[in-house]
């Protein structure tokens, strides 16, 4: 605790801590829906596909995260269309999005004139470099996500649980699914800052899995997911600060360790 307080003298640590808390809100809400509706692979597709937007924005000289956001929302809408029509298996579409997005992103960055940027922070995240503007974006979108989740909670759960039954109840399944997907893709892009494109899947899955191991009610699952997300992001942040480790991998490995611990303790207590 004293370590944390000492570290908080620095501006960038305050930003990083705020970013951790916001990312934790996002992954508790979004991640739980992604895990229970089995959208993990799809989320991987969206996060990797978003790299095209990131590279494109970099090439055009605008904020890379806005580019990523634009592409992520667009691909979420496209995948929702595919899922609703089931004209082709969604996993093939996701695979194409995944690889094409990465290819386009790298291509854009390489043809951008001037000094070639370091791609590693985008791929593996660097929560310690979260800027003020970035933080405001995160706060704004997190609030929108949180509000939408509260207002639409029953509908989101019903559509995630059994979309055919929801449709028969007259629910606008397409609209609800689209909202869920767009919320997810926005959250994914915001989380890229913390853990990067490649590792975002870990942050989306580990805290909800810890929540699912500890609770059987969806709200409680989300609560535990939030708590564990705070533990691993802040913990990873401190490891990164004091041991000079890259923050993304530190967060992810800490999460994997915590998940394993929870599973072991749960298995022990059952015996």
């Amino acid at each position: 605790m004293t370590g944390l307080l000492a570290a908080l003298q620095y501006d960038f640590m305050q930003n990083a801590l705020a970013a951790s808390l916001l990312v934790s809100v996002l992954c508790a809400i979004t991640g739980t829906f992604i895990v229970i509706k089995r959208l993990v692979f799809l989320s991987g597709g969206i996060s990797h596909g978003a790299f095209a937007g990131l590279g494109g924005a970099y090439f055009l000289g605008i904020n890379p995260f806005l580019g990523a956001m634009f592409v992520a929302i667009l691909s979420a809408a496209a995948i929702t269309r595919v899922i609703l029509r089931q004209s082709q298996p969604a996993d093939a579409t996701i695979g194409i999005l995944w690889a094409t997005g990465m290819a386009a992103g790298v291509l854009f960055v390489s043809i951008t004139p001037g000094y070639a940027p370091d791609l590693i922070p985008y791929l593996f995240g660097d929560i310690l470099t979260t800027g003020r503007t970035q933080l405001y974006w995160m706060a704004g979108f997190s609030m929108v996500n949180l509000l939408l989740t509260i207002i639409l909670f029953r509908q989101l759960v019903a559509v995630s649980f059994d979309d055919e039954f929801a449709r028969l109840r007259g629910l606008p399944v397409g609209a609800v699914l689209l909202i869920l997907m767009v919320m997810n893709s926005v959250a994914i892009v915001l989380m890229i800052q913390a853990v990067g494109i490649i590792l975002v899947m870990a942050l989306l899955t580990i805290p909800p899995l810890i929540g699912l191991a500890l609770a059987a009610k969806i709200r409680v699952v989300m609560f535990y997911a939030f708590i564990s997300a705070v533990l691993i992001t802040v913990g990873g942040l401190l490891l990164s600060f004091y041991l000079d480790l890259p923050s993304g991998p530190a967060i992810v490995l800490l999460g994997a360790g915590l998940l394993m611990l929870v599973k072991i303790v749960k298995a022990q207590s059952k015996m």
């Binding site: 229970i36 509706k37 089995r38 207002i151 639409l152 029953r154 509908q155 759960v157 019903a158 995630s160 649980f161 059994d162 055919e164 039954f165 929801a166 449709r167 028969l168 109840r169 007259g170 629910l171 606008p172 609209a175 609800v176 699912l212 609770a215 059987a216 009610k217 969806i218 409680v220 699952v221």
Partner: protein, 265 residues
């Protein structure tokens, strides 16, 4: 039959295919008030597809499906085939049944006191009181089946559809389910998709036999007459997956009264 005039649901020359593989071809079928229709046929014969087309969950490639006998606010009860959702989903039995009370609004959807009361009632009727707070992931097959039925009934449906409702439950529960459906059928029409007619045979009023096309759509006389008479015979053969032959074979040797049913529908 007295109520054969206006159908509640009318299926006209409906065809449907998944990609290039035709699943149903030129199927026509009517469902009437107080009907108890069993859609039977071999696995992969298109029974569930037909049900989903009727429910509007799938759109036909050709033909029409209309619900002329219902008002705009009609409530549909639907019990899906077993594993259509994730078993590990973090919801309690009560949460799931409450979904049957949801409406079509995109925005505010609160659980009202009336929703809670009706849910409590239906849980009680189906003997699920004790399981009310249990996570759905921890239920046995038969218990989950009852939860699905509770979810379908909690809206006081005007018609009830069940897709393979007995596939995953033990014989004792089958009998209970069958008598419960007979009781419900006094008030609402019931459509049940099954590959195993055994548990329903004594109660169904009509049979539609589907294997890519509609081979047979039988009247009430069959249920009360022929089917009752030769109870075991069609049951055996239906279970083996050649139902259209069943009815013809069955008509040949003994029950002459059945012949006209199977001949040219």
């Amino acid at each position: 039959m007295t109520d054969r005039k206006t159908p509640l649901i009318s299926v006209r020359d409906v065809s449907f295919s998944y990609g290039y593989e035709p699943a149903l071809k030129d199927v026509s079928l009517d469902i009437y008030a107080t009907d108890y229709l069993a859609i039977i046929g071999p696995n992969g014969g298109g029974k569930t597809t037909l049900l989903k087309l009727i429910l509007g969950l799938l759109k036909p490639d050709a033909g029409q499906i209309t619900w002329p006998g219902f008002s705009a606010q009609h409530q549909i009860g639907y019990v899906p085939q077993f594993a259509t959702f994730e078993r590990e989903f973090p919801l309690s039995v009560r949460d799931v049944v409450l979904m049957g009370r949801m409406s079509g609004h995109l925005w505010w959807q609160r659980v009202s006191d009336r929703d809670q009361d009706l849910t409590t009632d239906i849980l009680h009727q189906l003997g699920l009181d004790a399981l009310s707070d249990k996570p759905v992931g921890q239920l046995s097959g038969g218990q989950l089946q009852r939860v699905m039925i509770a979810r379908a009934l909690v809206c006081n449906p005007d018609i009830l559809f069940l897709d393979e409702p007995i596939a995953s439950i033990d014989p004792g529960s089958r009998f209970k389910l069958s008598s419960m459906l007979t009781e419900l059928n006094k008030n609402i029409p019931i459509v049940v998709v099954t590959h195993d007619i055994t548990s329903f045979a004594s109660n169904v009023l009509h049979i539609a036999c589907v294997n890519r096309t509609l081979f047979y759509h039988g009247d009430a006389e069959l249920a009360s007459g022929c089917l009752d008479e030769a109870y075991g015979c069609p049951v055996e053969l239906v279970a083996h997956g050649v139902p259209h032959r069943v009815l013809q074979d069955h008509a040949d040797p003994s029950a002459a009264g059945c012949t006209h049913h199977g001949s040219d529908k």
